[in-house]
Amino acid sequence: MMQKVFSKPQALKDCPTHYCPGCGHGIAHRLIAETIDELGIRGRTIGIAPVGCAVLAYDYFDVDMVEVAHGRAPAVATGMKRTNPDKIIFSYQGDGDLAAIGTGEIIHAAHRGEQITVIFINNAVFGMTGGQMAPTTILNQVTTTTPLGRDASKQGYPLQVSELLTLLPGTIYIERCSLHKPALIRNAKKAIKHAFELQLNNAPGLSLVELLSPCPTYWRMTPVKAIEWMENEMTKVFPLGRLKG
């Protein structure tokens, strides 16, 4: 007798995504949807989609979603959580959204200790606009705006937002996970669930889970090469593990 042990979560709509083959957004969406299903909070969760590749995330999640201006998700989440304290608010933001244009919003939302959950997708590149350098681009990484590789003397160093936010007393939980191996994806799921549980239990402060995610298209690699590159290069610059909480 065969028993089903894995299938698409209920909180994810049954439609194909627009993401490129091998993109990590699909995995991240599924982990969040699984968490929402397991906690039974589908009716009271509101998600915030970013500007970036995941701008159409509201088409894929079967929960209430809003789409906000570039980088402003933590600011909108603040208003939503303060006016509806019984709702579970999560923002889903890429590295261009959270670490570039939205740096001010995330730092001040964390500084105020807003009770929201932030899912931060770090793929070290601007995906939607065509593969330009992001603040999180690692040194010597080739992008369309750094054709010779990122040079620290000209373009500076990769920005480690998660480490930065651990210094603020308003954050209660920060963890960096990766989506390049099944074992690490299981860990990422645990981290996301923990972040949601903290908000469910009214823990005072902001919880953030950073997910390293592959972007095979703009890293100009096959999906399998991309996960190898994450293992060999990206996790050295962005070490995995629980940073706070």
Binding site: M1, M2, Q3, K4, V5, F6, S7, K8, P9, L12, P16, T17, Y19, C20, P21, G22, C23, G24, H25, G26, I27, R30, L179, K181, P182, A183, L184, I185, R186, N187, P216, T222, P223, V224, I227
Partner: protein
């Protein structure tokens, strides 16, 4: 056969991540394209243990995993392949 996977070939984009992580070499990329023009993953052999590694890494949630009932009741360690234990 301890496990079984069902691949939704119309959702699959043929990225090949499941092929790379399957500890039994149980998945290959098909030579027949689907309606969207992608070459989807398909089963290669019947060595599946139902470990669900392929489904966990699938970005499209296109894989369903089934496992034999009596295996599910055994302690976790005996049935989990090396890859899932988190060791390289």
């Amino acid at each position: 056969m301890a496990g079984k996977i069902v691949i939704n070939i119309e959702r699959c984009k043929g990225c090949g991540l499941c092929v790379a992580v399957c500890p039994k070499g149980g998945i290959v990329i098909s030579k027949q394209s689907n309606k969207s023009g992608y070459f989807p993953a398909e089963k290669n052999n019947s060595a599946c243990t139902g470990c669900a590694s392929c489904a966990i890494i699938c970005p499209e949630a296109a894989i369903e995993v089934y496992r034999e009932q009596d295996i599910l009741n055994k302690p976790h360690k005996e049935t989990t392949p090396d890859l899932v234990k988190g060791k390289k």
